[in-house]
Symmetry: D2
Subunit: 311 residues, 4 copies
């Protein structure tokens, strides 16, 4: 115990949460007419490599300033963004090839979605309203020449008002929960999937965007369709549906709170409550987390190294 010298272990640094909005204008450059498209991202860039001298001696000669990383994010957006995964891949390439001592890093983005405002039944050219609660997420990690791409979403809040049971669980001294054959099931889905193979057409961004949209729909449909005996069963089915539909996706990780809705006991007031009035609780909440993967396929711990929270 306490034998070795104190040394630097794994480390990374960069600029977090660069808020970037890009406007793509149809027609001539700078045009205020025509149809606009907006891309709204929060981008984080972090570098890994040989930064020991900075930590031990305050020698910054190899420290690409976090301010420089931020500038690079905005400058790269000038050439267009495409899918968020594509911007991150370009940033990863730039930093790992541009500075000999940078041999990897992590680049992350959240995409915030906007719909067009409808005016007179027609989508407006340049006016938008933020929609949806979920946020699209992307994480690119690079270790030398190896590149790992995760995509996902968070805060996709769903609820089914029936079609969910919970029974047959073991009972011990501390068990008071009654069994139920009909309850509300509600959760906020956080999902990450790993691309073993980049989606077809991803050079033109359609691959990542189209896959994202399809996975999101599949998660929703599976949640809706499955008669659920446990939230575990539901999230495994969600992950399985994604893997079966997308051969290029190697694994899916899901983290889902069980947002409890308790049937209110109205009997003291002389009222019944046939599954109608519920109290939506805040805390504590169940928390169910699982990885769904392909048998025999290699894990890639480096892809998941900095992903928060679960197994």
């Amino acid at each position: 115990m306490a034998t070795g010298d104190v040394v630097l272990g794994e480390n990374q640094y960069g600029k977090a949460e660069c808020r970037l909005v890009r406007v793509d204008r149809e027609g001539s450059t700078g045009s205020t007419s025509g149809k606009h498209r907006i891309t709204d991202l929060t981008v984080t860039s972090q570098l890994r490599g040989d930064f020991a001298a900075c930590h031990t001696d305050g020698d910054n000669s190899q420290v690409v300033a976090t301010d420089t990383q931020k500038n690079t994010v905005y400058a790269f957006a000038r050439d267009g963004i495409g899918a968020p995964e594509e911007l991150l891949l370009r940033l990863a390439e730039h930093f790992t090839t541009g500075f000999p001592w940078v041999d990897g890093g992590r680049w992350e983005a959240q995409q915030h979605s906007w719909d067009r405002i409808e005016v007179g039944g027609e989508p407006h050219d340049h006016s938008f309203v933020r929609t949806g609660r979920e946020t699209r997420t992307t994480l690119v990690q690079r270790d030398g020449d190896e590149v790992f791409v995760l995509a996902g979403l968070r805060d996709l809040t769903v609820l089914k008002s029936t079609g969910s049971e919970f029974a047959g669980f073991p009972r011990d001294r501390y068990t008071t929960l009654p069994e139920t054959d009909d309850r509300i099931l509600a959760t906020d889905v956080t999902a990450w999937w790993r691309y073993a193979e980049l989606p077809p057409g991803s050079d033109g961004s359609n691959g990542f965007d189209a896959t994202y949209a399809a996975v999101r729909d599949l998660l929703l449909e599976t949640f809706a369709d499955l008669h659920s005996l446990a939230l575990q069963q539901t999230i495994f089915a969600m992950g399985k549906a994604v893997l079966e539909a997308f051969p290029g996706i190697a694994e899916v990780r899901l983290s889902c709170p069980n947002n409890h809705h308790f049937l209110v006991d109205l009997a003291p007031f002389g009222l019944d409550n046939p599954g109608e009035v519920f109290l939506a609780a805040d805390r504590p909440y169940g928390l169910i987390q699982a990885t769904v993967q392909r048998e025999g396929e290699a894990r890639e711990p480096r892809a998941w190294a900095t992903v928060a929270g679960f197994a």
Copy 2:
């Protein structure tokens, strides 16, 4: 100064943020098949009246417990909710007529909206996804027999990527802002409107619900359509559109941050930036607040007494 005895002034108390979800089941009671409808509210109930003895002496004989107020919210939901305004009006009636010393109060609700999940192109019977960022808000205040009803929304986030200018403002020693004839205009709309007359059909809830939906759309359309010379002009136009369309609405109050999007200076990197790459700033932000009302019509300060923040 400091002459009079210390006395109790205005006061109110109750239970805040009761999280209430009601499931309406088509067909037989307790049915798990058929189409479900969910209503998701956060309800606050607060009473006013003669509560001086509690404050000065700890005499609780007239203090309707906040726990009782909560129970009443859930019990009343048993009979159906309708529009959130209708539930609040029933609660107001109950408390002010049921306890002689309660002569008023405030009842507030936020409604959280859900869409049906689509499966195979069809809306699912009992599976839902939270949509939209905005929250519908309702406030009923009662003073004796007088009832005031406000409705509104908050966190309706909108952006236009062109069609907004800001110029012609005065310049003093501290002015550095350049004029612009093309900028991004972005805000999170908070709006409240006061019903001088309850909307037609409001006994069956369609009035409040239909009016809410129509006002929301009108706010969005006006934001989109107006070529904006100032955010002040935009919000006045939004309020005006509502008053012109709904004669039963007496006044509209709007509170809108100016969520600044700064054009990034890419010149140091040898790049131009023809209105394409923006930094979305957090703080500080502009904050524009206005009341739009009808000339000659009486104000109703009691309707607005506890509404946060602006003029």
Copy 3:
């Protein structure tokens, strides 16, 4: 109904949440040695006056840009800050006298407190740690030549583990709460007080700072000392203590959630629970709000016009 023309009512606009940190350096200007003092504020400036043309026609010729207001906040900090009330009073004077059409406004600040880090038992000269959960708040409103000054705090979280009862309340059909003669009482105090007379020495900032510190301590001591029969009784006593100690304070408003701590029923596990194990609940919570004032003294609604939330 719906007769008059649509007109602009009350309105205000400005820059919100300017994050300002000032370093006061002892000794020579720009000195890095010697003892430093930091003042950490979040400042909002909003103007009122004749801004109708901007709202109705987009005419900005009288619109002091929110960016200019922000610049002014930082420029004024160059001359020193003093108590936050003093900075706000200077800003109010500047804007209402500098622009003929500006006849009032509201200026608000939160102050975030820092302690010196102790090194070897000695407070460090220029290293600080954020302390406390509460935030000091200040609001100056001006209407022509009349100036209203509020001071306060929020998020002062307190708890007493005994010395609190709740009993004797009325019971109706919806009442299930048992009476208790010993409970946990916990709240997050929000308080505002109005200075009818500025505190002595306030020209040198000691008045406001000293009064703030004394009021905060008095609120805490009263909370601790009073054997509470209801949270209403506690907050009235807190306000009363302040008014009795400070003749220059005309009224106090308090808004206090009742942060429920429920005794956990351990009987199903064969355990008793003699007031030891509690579940701290999130929502719903009680919400108790009261004004404590001096009999016969005039109310000043303009001082409270934009203060959120309560009576």
Copy 4:
């Protein structure tokens, strides 16, 4: 690609954020007099083991309900808590030995600190005020008979108003940041340390509590004392100081945003700004993360498996 069957990978489930407050009463049980002590925790319990049948078939026969886990947390608190690490170790032992198919899990707690309110210069027996911004954190993970204990803190917000430089960094096409020999350095420290050996006296809780307090002070002192050439240098020094002082601690991980404070350019207003007036920015922010460890000592990836965010 896409060859293997879809199978369950790593998974865990449980109850998150059980809000638990325990009152320790001096003297006779249930006593309302005498000195009280409160322990305020947010506890999460998650189990790992053979839960495949639940995921694939909805078979709950081995699923210890999350409600049961919650009940167990509260029941165990009945016997006293001690240090939060000790409660978690007891929970880990209970679940992994009580259910044959549970072979591991993670148990996490945050501790919220309270000070006694002072009345007349004396600490009150049973009245408390929440203090400090930082939260003490604890994580116990168990894999069969192997137990890993992490302790830490988050949101320890510190600032030094001088004694910080940043210069000598490489300049490329995207670098615009000027060098500085005097800046504000501010951060919110998140730290985790791993106990290779439980602290002496930890059976009576003094070990964990005393170590926590000493590490916290050491982090603060090191931050204050070091003349910083880079935030990286500061956090390495902080970790190093901990390892040198505590031979039972094997490694320290730190994650620290660089909360930028920009000197405001007052020149346009005809004012200088000799290091006095700063704008505290929100986003983006630097993010510096590092592990400080002992040379030659084994890593324990299972200890860190679910710790959010960094290398």
